[in-house]
Amino acid sequence: MIEGILIGLKTALSLKNILMVMMGCFFGTIIGMLPGLGPMTAIALMIPITYGFDPATGLILMAGVYYGAVFGGSTSSILINAPGIPGTVATSFDGYPMAQQGKAGKALAIAAYSSFAGGTIAAIFLLFAAPSLSKVSLSFRSPDYFALMILGLTAVAAFSSKGQFLKAMMMAVLGLMLASVGQDTLSDIPRFVFNNMNLSDGISFVLVVMATFAMSEALMIILRGTDPSSAAKAISLKELGSIKLDKEETKKTLKTIPRSSIIGFIVGVLPGAGSTIGSFLAYGMERNFVSKEEKEKFGKGSVHGLAAPETANNAACSGSFVPLLTLGIPGSGTTAVMLGALLGFGIQPGPRLYMTNPEIFWSVIMSMYIGMVVLLILNLPLIPYIARILAVPRTFLIPMILFFSVTGIYLMSFNTFDIFLMIGIAIVATGLRLYKFPMPPLILAFVLGGLMEENLRRSLLISDGSFSFLWERPVTAVIIVFTILIVSWQAYQSLKTK
């Protein structure tokens, strides 16, 4: 492991990669601060750029964007009560009241220190957990992988649907359908190409991500007439106050960090849960841990109440890399985008990744530390200035997002068919989003489609066409039981509400 850490450090500490982390964190913070534009949009816009780099650098850049976006989301939660991303909603419960009391600087500092500590502790967990889990997952067979993918899709659908499980599952099936377009990987038989040569290689992953997130987000902003940059304008005008914490505040923050890190990391590892559930769970748990007197302060500017979700959401971000790096199965929409990008580089994440590409495996883990330091040292003092950059009116912001989306696709294929296909998918996605059909299950399913079919193929061939492979191996059976439990829980919830 020491050797791996050294390889990772060597790669992550190269000047180019440090610059990439810094750039990623900076860009991520900007996008994360804009309400509605989350890490998935930020990463989607970055993918075409990453293809110009080697895989390790590309992934480091995307990881930086991820952390930056989460941090940026916290900033708008605290200063203007407009969470940039769902994972920072709980941050606003106590962060915004603190800002209203004239302690905006302190709230930002607590958020930054907690994020730093949460991310760092979780990265240490990841350092030890990932190789051990990789060894365990080496014993996994095709049926286990197939079952795991079904579990991942079901869990993401359950958590991202906000009570609309059927809609989310429909989106997952749509994602799988889109992934099946093109030649069959084994027999090269064309499927769903309708004699169109442009479809024979399938639909590009970047195209689907850009269309469903970046482009449809831009169209949604126009459709609703909202101005995301108004948040940034408010931030730049706000008096931040001191960012120095007193002894009492430091003590409270330090008390909260370890327990919230553990909760965040565990929730992050679970498929589908991610930073939103992690932050809410940590907030709720913290309320039970503190004294009665402190409990009263929750919702009115409690230091514990701010530090807990901030620690947990960053810990969950690191945790979500565990299933991606060890099993090759993303646990969230954001890591699904990263998996898609890795597959684009020709790298298959999974238990063998840290043996076949140790520099990627370890450098990503190492870059997490560097990312946290960058966020703390560079981004915190720069918040008011970043906010000023952000005060770009939407009349310029939206065309820029559309420009980067169209150009990103054009530069990858130099084919106008892809541009038209992207516009078409973006229009459909905008319509679906209007009626609360969630997009993360679609992306996850699109990324997993090929792998899922491959593992089902192997499983069915081994069991001679029988579906008994789903319960023959104990590991597969346990995973399937979890999947059934999630579906049953959703059905029960639905009946209970009625």
Partner: protein
């Protein structure tokens, strides 16, 4: 009786899944693969049935939350304009070239979104695209087809 928009979308999804399933059955597989436990059409067939099943459930089951959207407050006009501009951009990018088509796309987008500060609109179109092209073409060696700039002799 008013049918909710979500039910209509689900019905469309049901039709799409049925069409997908029909097309999946039409996939020509090799004759030796026809009776294999798994061939090129197996997975799509399962997906078609899954799509129809889920959409069918959504249509049949009563709705817990009514997800109706107030279309009066939505700005469809601007979105349609933007989509038309994007299609126009897609049509011209290869024929006219990256520089002119992108600059015009940006300029028109700013205008249709309500921007009237011409100084900024010009700066963030032609010079902006020129810098972007220099970064791609000059620094990252990414070739961008541009007949117009080639005609002017700016790029080779």
């Amino acid at each position: 009786m008013k049918i909710s928009s979500v039910k209509i979308i689900s019905l469309l999804f049901f039709v799409l899944s049925a069409f997908y399933l029909y097309t999946a059955y039409q996939i020509q597989v090799f004759s030796f693969d026809e009776n294999a436990p798994f061939n090129a059409k197996t997975f799509p067939i399962y997906l078609g049935y899954a799509g129809m099943f889920l959409a069918g459930l959504k249509i049949i089951l009563p709705e817990r939350l009514k997800e109706e959207v107030d279309h009066k407050v939505l700005d469809y006009k601007k979105v349609i304009f933007l989509v038309i501009i994007m299609i126009f951009y897609g049509l011209t990018i290869l024929r006219v070239g990256f520089f002119v088509s992108t600059s015009i796309f940006l300029l028109l987008s700013y205008y249709f979104l309500g921007e009237r500060r011409w100084k900024f609109m010009i700066i963030f179109s032609f010079p902006f695209v020129a810098i972007f092209m220099f970064l791609l073409h000059g620094l990252l060696n990414i070739y961008l087809r541009d007949p117009f700039l080639k005609y002017l002799g700016i790029i080779g």
